[in-house]
Symmetry: C2
Subunit: 207 residues, 2 copies
Amino acid sequence: MARRTKAEAEATREALLDAAEEVFFDNGVARTSLEQIARHAGLTRGAVYWHFKNKADLFRAMLDRVRMPFEELVAETGASHDSPLETVRLGFQQSLLRLEQPRHRRVLAILIHRCEFFGDIDPCAIQTEMAGECLDALGGYFADAHRLGLLKQGLAPEVATRLLQAILSGLFHDWLRDPDAYSIYERGMALVDAQLALMRRDEAEAA
Amino acid sequence: MARRTKAEAEATREALLDAAEEVFFDNGVARTSLEQIARHAGLTRGAVYWHFKNKADLFRAMLDRVRMPFEELVAETGASHDSPLETVRLGFQQSLLRLEQPRHRRVLAILIHRCEFFGDIDPCAIQTEMAGECLDALGGYFADAHRLGLLKQGLAPEVATRLLQAILSGLFHDWLRDPDAYSIYERGMALVDAQLALMRRDEAEAA
DNA sequence: ATATCCATACAGACATGAATGTAAAAAACG
DNA sequence: CGTTTTTTACATTCATGTCTGTATGGATAT
């Protein structure tokens, strides 16, 4: 085979990324060679080296297909600003929905549980970046909630933020270790709802 | 060099494990060769292959030096059985104290953030095993707490268990990504205390 | 006590295989 | 025909496992 049309070249690029996802997920990043990825896509290493500089570059491209900042997720839901706790809930829900898509699930699982640093890639740094992004957003919402008197008395907004962020993070990690064990959407929403209920100022207090 | 005494042989074994910890932590497991480990310990690969079957065996031995089931931690604290929530707190505290020791910190960080499967080692499975162990223990305590009427009304013990486990897990993961950023003991205890306060039935309800 | 002998605890060299990156050839498009 | 896409072939590097060599420790016999 050789050159088809421009669109078909793009298709092989995508095919390579798809293959990378699958093989990385099955074998881990370090244990998979570019040869394996190419073969899995029905191509050869030559194609890989044409489209990507090297393994790290391929990896980055794979990640770029699923990036989604928390704020964007929230924006998608069209949540209003007057109820920060509900906004958090919606953002959370949106995240979980995304995670149920195979592509997002696979790539996140790879990033978190199936790779260590290589080349100029540091998965920990990427995770930290994503976590920090999420933490900042959550922090803002809880600060608002606190100002509006929506939080339980004695619960500092920073603590509430870290609690929820830890729950989110822990949930992700645990679920990604074995995504078929349960539905993250159902369990996740149950946990957020329970936690938000715990953190919300109750009517008796508010009166 | 050649054969020293039996005690000295044991010392080199430990030295190799120490070296493995450090190099694994710095470079990741996949990227470090047995040669690097041996050199870092001032020895050669011959020593490594004498004491260990291969890389996976060495890795397992490294893990074995820090294993500690949650129940054992709780036992160490000598907590009484009449206050399950306090028992959970103490177990948590004990875990965090352990984590502040460099050895535990390093090994856990390696297991969680610096290795993917290789040989017959599946770090995810090991994590799942540890998490499950912890989950079972927590589940028992919260079931007791529920029976004793210590939990907030409407809070199912299973949900409480999963919440706390997620918090623990999330906290570990986040901190291990950058252990020098903050004290896990301080922040961790603040979070558990806050969470336990939220989950405890308040006096008004109890009356 | 000391000489002998074997198992132990390493070091060093070697063979193998696998993955990488690159360069050159080949095939198909325009 | 020239350019773009892909294959094939090749050179290099590197980790692994194994094998051999060797000096010592310790047990046993004398």
